[in-house]
Structure formats: C-alpha cells, structure tokens
Subunit: 336 residues, 4 copies
C-alpha cells in the first residue's frame, strides 16, 4: 500500500486520477490539494465522485507526506513544485509540459517561459521507455496529442518507411481544461470544427523529439477542436519511401506492440473510433491504407484524459512500483 | 462461479451486460446469441469490447445451457423464449416489457400484442422488491423511464404528499436501440428536442402500476428525446397536498433510500446531472424545491443503459445469487 | 428610410439584429456601439457578418443620433440609458428586462436591483399588444422564455380551460449569452441536461404577469439547459378545468392566431420542433393532446435569439413605423 | 419569370432548393416530384417549409413542363432522366455525380455503374466556368467535398506552388442524406470522429480532374464524419515547391477570387469556421500559414447543402438566365 498525493486535484486530470485510484488495490489517496476549494468535498467539483469521503486541502507541496505525488499543475507551475518533492525522496509524475523536453532551450522557446529548475526525468511513454520508468524518480507524463501521434508513427519511422509526417488531429474539448474560455463556449464549438495553433502547437516539438529517436523524420502538426467531450483521433498522412503493402505495415505494427497491454491494432475493416476507447486507457491504431499516390494513412484513437493524461500517469506509477500494469486501469470503453 | 447466457447480445443492452460481466468475479459468460452475427466476434458490433475472445452464436433458447439467462430481446419475442428456459430450471432476467405487468389485459392494451405465455415474475426494482428478487426465478427488469420515475416518486407518494404526478422526462437516444431510424438520424436529433408519445408511452402504465402501490396517485408522463447519447433526466412536478418543507422532503428521501447502494440523494445546492451517472449504475435524486404555488420539483438522473437496463439486471442477478450487490457494478460515472 | 442605432452590439442579440437589418429595405444602420471593440469591424465578433463594412463605435447614448435605438444591454444597464434617449424623442426597443414589469416592486424583487428610472412602456408582444405598439415610444421586448410560454398559454387561459400551468422549458445555450461561463462550458453541457433556477427564474413573474391578464391562473416554471445552440421548446402541462376535445382546443388556437404572420399552429400529427424555426421569427405551437388524467399538453418552439429576442424586436419596429410586419424577417428556418 | 421543376424533392438538397427558390423574384416553382410522398404537402418532409402551399407530385420526367429542372436524384438515376429533358429543350442542373466526369471510363470506375447516356455538360463551378455556364444546357453541379477542396487549391496549383495535395476534410452528416443509416445513427456519430473511404472516396477523382487543369498535381483525399449537421471544413496540407511568404499566398488568393460574390478570403488572424457560412452560399478560405518544414495549410469552409449543393445549383441557374448571381442567395450565415 502506498500513499499518493495529487497536487492540483480540481481539474479534469485530477478527477480522472481519482476515478481510477479509487479502485486501485495498492493505493491510499492521502492528499488532494486545491487552493480554491480548500475543505470542500471533491464531489462539488467532480460530481461523478459523489459519495467519496475526500476533501480538497490547501497544502503546500513541502508539507505533503506521500510516497508518490501526481502534479496535475499547469506548465510553469510544476517546475516550482517538483524539485522540492524530489529532494524529499518523493517520486513524482508530472502531468505538465515542464519536464518533457531533452533541452531547456526547446522548452523555453515553445513555452515562452524561463525554466528555473531543470531535473533529470523520464518521458513516461511505457511503450518506449518501460525500463527507464521502472527506475525513475521523476516522470514527465506525455502530452495528449503526442501520445496518440507518437504511438501511431514510430513503427513506420523505425522501418524507415516515412520521413515527413503530416499529423492532422481532431480533439475533444476536455483537453482544454475545466476553465471556461471562448474556445470551450458551447455555441462556438457545437456544430463547428475549429482548427487552431495551425503550425505552432507546443505538442509539435514534443512529437518531433520522440519520433526522431526512431529515424530521420520531420513532423508537421495541426490540431482541430471538434464537438466532442473526450478523445483525440489522429490522422497521419505520409508518402511512403518504399514499396510496401498495407498487410506488411500492419504486421510491423502488430510486432512492435505485441505485448503491450494498452495498444490495440485494428483489423483492416475496422477504423479506430473514439467511443471504443472512451473512458479507457487504450490506444487503438489502425487503417494502414495506401492510396494511388503512395500516401499511407495511419489513424489512432485515445481518450485524451486517460491514455492522454491520467490513465497513462497511473500506468507509469504501476510500472514504477512493480504493480500489475493494468491495476485499476482495466476499464472498458464506454460505447455508445 | 455461475454460467450466464445472453439471448440477443447484439444490441446496446447486450453490449452493456458484457461490459460489466467481463469484470464479474463469479460469472462465466457461456453463450451470447445473435442470429444476424453468428460466429462473428462481438467486437465487430461492440467496438469497445475489442480484445475479448467471444463470438456470437446462433443458438436456440432450448439449446442454451446456463444457470441464468438474460433475455435482451424485444417485447413480444421474450414471451416465446422465457417459458421454455424457466421450465428447464434456468433463472431468467427479462429486459423486455413482457413480464412487467400485474395484468395481462394491461399488457395487451399497451403493447398491442396477445400475451401467449403469462408467468409469475418479480418486478426487478431492488429498492422495492429486494426480498422477492432473492427468491425469484423470473425477473421482469424495469423499463428505463420507470426506473428513474418510480425511484423519484415513491417516497413522496408513500407520505401522501402527492396525488397527481406530472413526469416530464428528457432521454438520450441510446434508449431507442442500435438500429437506425428517423428518430435517431443525427440531423433530426442534434440541436433539437423531440417530444414523442406525449400522452401514451408504454412506460406510463408501468410507472402508474408501481407508484400506486405506495398510495393513491395519478401519473401523467411525457418523454422528450434530447441530443444526448446516454441518460434520462426526469423532472417530476406535483402540487403538494400538505404543508411541508424542502428539508423535510429531503429527509424523507434520505430515510427511504438509507442503505441503498445505488441511490444517491443530492445536497440542496446540487442538481442531479447525467454526466455524474454516465456509464454507472447510480440513480441520483435531488432538488426538492417548492415554489410559491406549492409545486414541488423532484429530479432524478440515471444512465438508461445501466440503472435503466443492464446494470440493474446484473444488480438483480447479484441479489438472486447472494453475491455482493455491487459486484462488477462498482463503476464511477464518466464526467466530463 | 430610418436611422437605427444598436447599443451593445457585440452580443448575440446584437449580431442577430444586424443579420436581419442588413436585408431591411427601410433601415439604415447608423451606429453599433461597443465599448470593448471600439473601431473593430463587427465581423471580428460576428464572423457570419464578414464583408459588411461596419465598425463598432464607443459612443455614449447621449451622442447617438438615430430615429430608433435597440438597447441590447444587460438588465440594470438599460435603465441608465433608455430615459435619455426617450427624452431626446428617440424611439427605443429595449431587449433587457428593465421595462417589462407593470410594477417596480416586482422588478426590484426579482432582479434584485433598485429601479432608478421607471418609464411608461409597452410590452412588445405583437400578438397581444399590436395596437399599443403602433403608438409606443418605448417597447419592452419580451424575454425568450416568456415569448414561447405566453403564446402557448393564453388561448387556453382566456377560455378558462386552465388555472395552474406547469411550464417545463428546454432551452439552447445561446440564451446565456456570448460570454463563456461554467454553464456554457462545452464539457458541462454536451451530453447533459441541466435544470436550473428550478422555482425562481426571473422569467416566471414575467410569464405570470402577462398570462393572468387573460384569466385567473398560477404559473409554475422550470427551465432546463439542453445541448442545443438555438431554440426553446416549451412543454406546458395543465389539468383541464372542463371537458373539451383536442380538436376543439386546436380550433381555439387557430382562431386566436388567425392572422398572425409569425405564429403557426401545427397539425395534430406534427410536433413543434426547433429545427423548423431555427434562425426564423416563427413560433410554432401544437400538440393539444389530452391524457386519461385530463392533463393537456401544449408545446411551443421558438428560436430564442429571433422570436425570443432580436427578430421580435424588429417585428416591433416594423409595427411602430407601419412597415410590412415581415420586412427583413421573411426568413425560413434552417432545417436540418 | 421562369418555371422550375425539381425532380427528387424530398431529400435535403430538395428542401434547400425550395428554401432559396421561395424567395427568388424570377422563379415560379411549378413541380416538385416525389414518388414516395405523392400529394403530400412538402412541409411533412421539410418542417421548416411549413406554410408553403406546395405538394409533392409523382410525375414522370417526360411529363414535366418547365424551363429548367433541378435533378436532385441519386447518381445512376440522373442518367436515366436527364437526356429526356435535354431533348425537350429543358435546361438541367444535375446534382448527382452522373455528368461530372470528362471521361466515361473514370465515371464507371469510381461509381461502379455503366453510364448509359453520356451527354455534353459543363462542370458547374462558377468561379472556374462562369462563361461556359452562361451558355450551357446541362450543368453537372459539383460534389460537396470537391467544391471546398477545389476552391481552396487552385490558386496554389496555378502558381505551381504545390504538386502533392493532402486534403483532410471534416464533414457534417447532412451530406449523407435524409435516409437513416448506421453512419448517421446518433449514438454512432455524436462524441465521435469517423474517418471513412480513407483512400477511395468518389470525390477524389473529381477533385483531381478539376485541380489538374491548373497544373501538375496529385490529390490525396480523406474525409472524416464529425458530429456536425451542416458544413465541410477542409484542411489542405502541402509542401511548398518554392520559397514564398504567407502574405504572398494570401495575395494570390485575393487576386484569384477578386470579384467572386461567394468566395471570401479570411484575414490572417481569422480561421474559416462552419458557423460563419452555415445556411449560406459562401466559401470562406484562409489560413495560409507555413511551418518550419515548408508545409503550407489552406483551410476552406462551406455549407455542404448550400455552396456544396443547392445554393451553388441556384447560383448556376442565375448565371444561365442572366439574373443577379446573388438573387435569393443573399443569405447571411447562421452564427452561432
């Protein structure tokens, strides 16, 4: 049994961490912090967690006593909290972007912030870094777009089949967080499709960094907000560098993800769909179709709040502690 | 460990039964029938169940070997299947309307069908009939609208506080089933609110039958289809027959549902909402506000496919076999 | 040709006024004010008005030169603007709640504000007050819920068929305005139904005030936010005071609204639906079904931004100036 | 005044033709055919057209007496109707795919049908073929995806800036027609994004045919169904063949569409959005951003039922008869 703390528990990723951890056999949720909702029952913010006897607490990071802490804090805030925890030998899984980059320069360029506290971290994508995660003290939990994009790309790049990826993502709006904004205003989003950050989304360099470890590749990325609550469907278009069949590509993906508990390769007649992964930690990958111009299409589907955030964070925790990797995450998608 | 069969497994209620039963510690799903999808993996119809190694089978009811069978068959079909199973000492939980009425006449009037095989059954609403369910061989699983409406009404009726209920329900479209129709056609439903069966929905006499067991009452019912996938929000309006405070009414409800594992009474400042119960077996009840005309408003929220169908069916099974009533149903709602 | 000013043109009602006025043959839009967007082209806020050469101006009310001004300002703000305009002999159509009540007390009770500048006004519901509107200088444009509720109720009340109305409304979210809030946050509203202001919505006393002019009646009102952009569907439930047929009730409504250009009575087999009135100034009324408990159901559908706000305001202007009442409003609903 | 017939008036494109033609000053709608709804008022199918005194008629094409006929018939059906009309000197605007291809072979390959009646036709994209349209007897009205894709591509291709286009479209579901199918079933589409016909949609060769007239280019096309009623947002990704700035590209587009009444080029800070064109005949084009990999993104937005079908058909008719090209089409988009 380990003691868990959640810093910044009043957002969507906090709610999702709690949804899963409640059913985790080896975890005791000890502290859930929130400045705004101090001493308020969590169900006032997370109505689905009604009945759980947990209150938010306004506790500073240096007062938290736990074996592991999830920092569900915005980028820029995490870097001021994490080092203190690490120093006190508390393991940390950080859900912000603060520790995802190999290079401080890259971070500062894309996030427009000075990084005050660089630390050694492991990029928490289990399908790539499982061994490193086992030994890590600080996990930089991947971004939502990067999770679906990287998983859908790397087998292709590793086999040197592609060198220019066009990543066209369609995302649900919960990724924008719990705070109302113009982008999340119902009349602006419903019955609409809103492309944004067309060429300069922060997740682009994160995808680039991880994919290029598998081969020479240039990533072009454009996200679109669609009238969906949860889920990211990513369509990757690339022109094949050599002659290969759909069947062969599918085999490459199946081999690559052979034993992965949360990656499912779709049959040819299936297309990944958001409802199949809704609320679950699965990443479905499929399509593999090749057109008359040698363009191949790879499609992935994840729940941005689960495999794209809190579910993956718990998967990382399970790996770090040697728990069954699926513990508490063995949830089936909510379709329809 | 008991063997379970599902007759008619290719609809939404079949998919939901499987979603929960997969995580049930005392159940072995032995047979899932479908004429149309014989020998097809269930994930071709239920994409979220991808990875489960189960195929639909075209097996006649009299060939099914199981301890208990869920008949997820349309009304009119169940009555031709259930008697045969009961005769062979197989317990049955029927999700159709065929065995819900005390009187054949009422059934035949409202369903417009001759009932060929009346049998003794127990109305499977655990909050009312738990003791009878324990000993039952045939459970008539309640309709979706009745579940939310009855639970929201009976404490009030029992206390003789109301005698004319206006039940105005707003339902998600999954209740209409997996087969595309004009009513479920996206351009007809999205951005619309479609009242239907304004005064003569089949679930009205079912609500009437159960509520009047608690006191003299007349039920008027009107459902509205709203652009929602899952969930029924029911607004009950009634003029109070005597002077009573909101606080008192809330206490009456809390007392009535005191030990119920799946009924949650909301605090005053909360209003039941669909996302709090989405995908879960909870029925949230709240509001209790009284206006200047002595009208009281009671609101309930359920997931029509769970507490309104398959979840409640499994709750009934758990009661019948003395399992923990929450076994496999301890799922938290998917909000947002 | 008359000169028109719009005060507060950057909200949804401002956008809708412009959408119609652009096609009005007798109107010159002279000034559209906005403090926030001074000197910005209106299409930056209203993207559909792209191509119109109009900029917002930050002009004080006392500097506006126009024959008529629409005050699309929040309640509480209008009362500080309108008197000045009226004094300068500018006609005013006020879209706020500031001038809708017969009694200051009622306003102050329900709006929680001191009313500084009471003035004589005409309640701008043409179907009831057309003659008064012709001669008015100040029109209090009706609220959105009241428009649909009053029109659906008054023939019944006038015939003394009903004395207790239960008004259960389902509204699209554009009624909440252009400013993002928790209530309009996409993940909170999509796939949900959110009742609010269950017994004390400000529009209740407005409905009560107008309906009781036709007979003794008590109005109980509850609104629900549904995942819809535009439109209010109102379901009125009432127990009939005398024996009457659906056919007879329909005839009463047809007679009452005989020559009305914007009220359409539905045939029996039709139910009013939001898409039939979307973007248009029509109010569709129908249903008239009576159940076994003598409850009758009347349903109305409007577009809350059009007949429920800006369209009705223009209809009032057309009446005031003797223009064709349908001028610029002859727009067909956008279905699907 | 010309007499107009509509063959196949009970679908969405039929409804849209009527919505506009009702307000056309030079048109008399003489016949609207439907086999299924013979002698039924059109408002039973098109609820927004309530109040129009028009009935569907089951009239054979050879009995239709009109100056011009819109054939809103499925592909494969048009080819059996159109020749007869043309022979009788009736002008035809065909909304199916039957006459869009330069080559019968291409049609037969992509539509899987034998073409029985090839005829000379003009591809009805006014921005390209206005002069030919003026003299045409038979217009092949463009497909919905091609309209948005071609308009967004051709200035770039003409300037030899691109030779491999990746066209990633997101479409509302009304394009799938009025008949319920699995793809249009609300629970399948809501909260989902469904890619389909990934590499072999019929509109791909239509886009290819028209775009290659402006330069050497290869078109790769993938459509996605999104939870939207109306509208197609098309994201075109291509790697630039020479160094050019966003500003220069925008100027190229502005020059190309300089006098076009229905193409609007967006400013840099604007992104085309569906609500800005909803219900209107506009095609908004914008973005023009270029990333670090020399990928440029061009985005277009249309209403698939208007500029993508019926609105464009009426625009063609206006051109054929020398009417004002905007007659009856001067409708502003419905935002929000």
């Amino acid at each position: 049994m380990i003691d868990v703390g959640i810093i910044g528990g009043s957002g969507y990723t906090g709610g999702e961490l709690l949804r899963f951890l409640m059913n985790h056999d080896h975890v005791n949720v000890k502290t859930v912090t929130s400045r705004q909702y101090n001493r308020i029952n969590i169900s006032k913010v997370h109505p689905h967690l009604k009945g759980l006897d947990i209150e938010f607490e306004d506790v500073a990071a240096d007062k938290i006593d736990a074996d592991i802490v999830f920092t569900a804090t915005p980028h820029g805030a995490s870097m001021n909290i994490v080092p203190e925890l690490i120093e006190r030998d508390i393991k940390v899984i950080d859900l912000s972007g603060d520790y995802r980059f190999d290079s401080i320069n890259k971070y500062e360029k894309w996030y427009g912030l000075k990084h005050s506290n660089p630390l050694e971290s492991v990029y928490g994508l289990p399908e790539v870094y499982r061994e490193e995660i086992k030994k890590a003290n600080l996990i930089a939990n991947p971004g939502c777009f990067p999770t679906g994009s990287i998983l859908a790309s790397i087998p292709l790049v590793k086999e040197k089949l592609a060198d220019k990826l066009i990543v066209d993502s369609k995302t649900g709006v919960s990724g924008a967080g719990i705070k109302p904004t113009e982008a999340t205003h119902y009349p602006n989003l419903a019955d609409n499709v809103n492309p944004y950050a067309i060429i300069n989304h922060r997740h682009m360099p994160e995808i680039q960094q991880e994919v290029e470890k598998f081969g020479d590749v240039k990533v072009s990325f454009t996200p679109h907000l669609v009238p969906v609550i949860r889920g990211i469907l990513t369509t990757i278009h690339t022109f094949l560098k050599e002659d290969v069949t759909s069947k062969k590509v599918k085999e490459i993906y199946e081999a690559f993800y052979n034993d992965e508990p949360f990656v499912r390769i779709c049959d040819f007649e299936e297309i990944p769909r958001l409802s199949a992964v809704r609320g679950s930690n699965y990443c479905d990958i499929g399509c593999f179709q090749i057109d008359h111009n040698d363009r191949i299409v790879i499609i992935s589907a994840i729940d941005n709040l689960v495999k794209g955030a809190s579910g993956q964070a718990i998967q990382n925790m399970n790996i770090m502690y040697g728990f069954n990797e699926k513990e508490s995450l063995d949830v089936i998608g909510l379709h329809p």
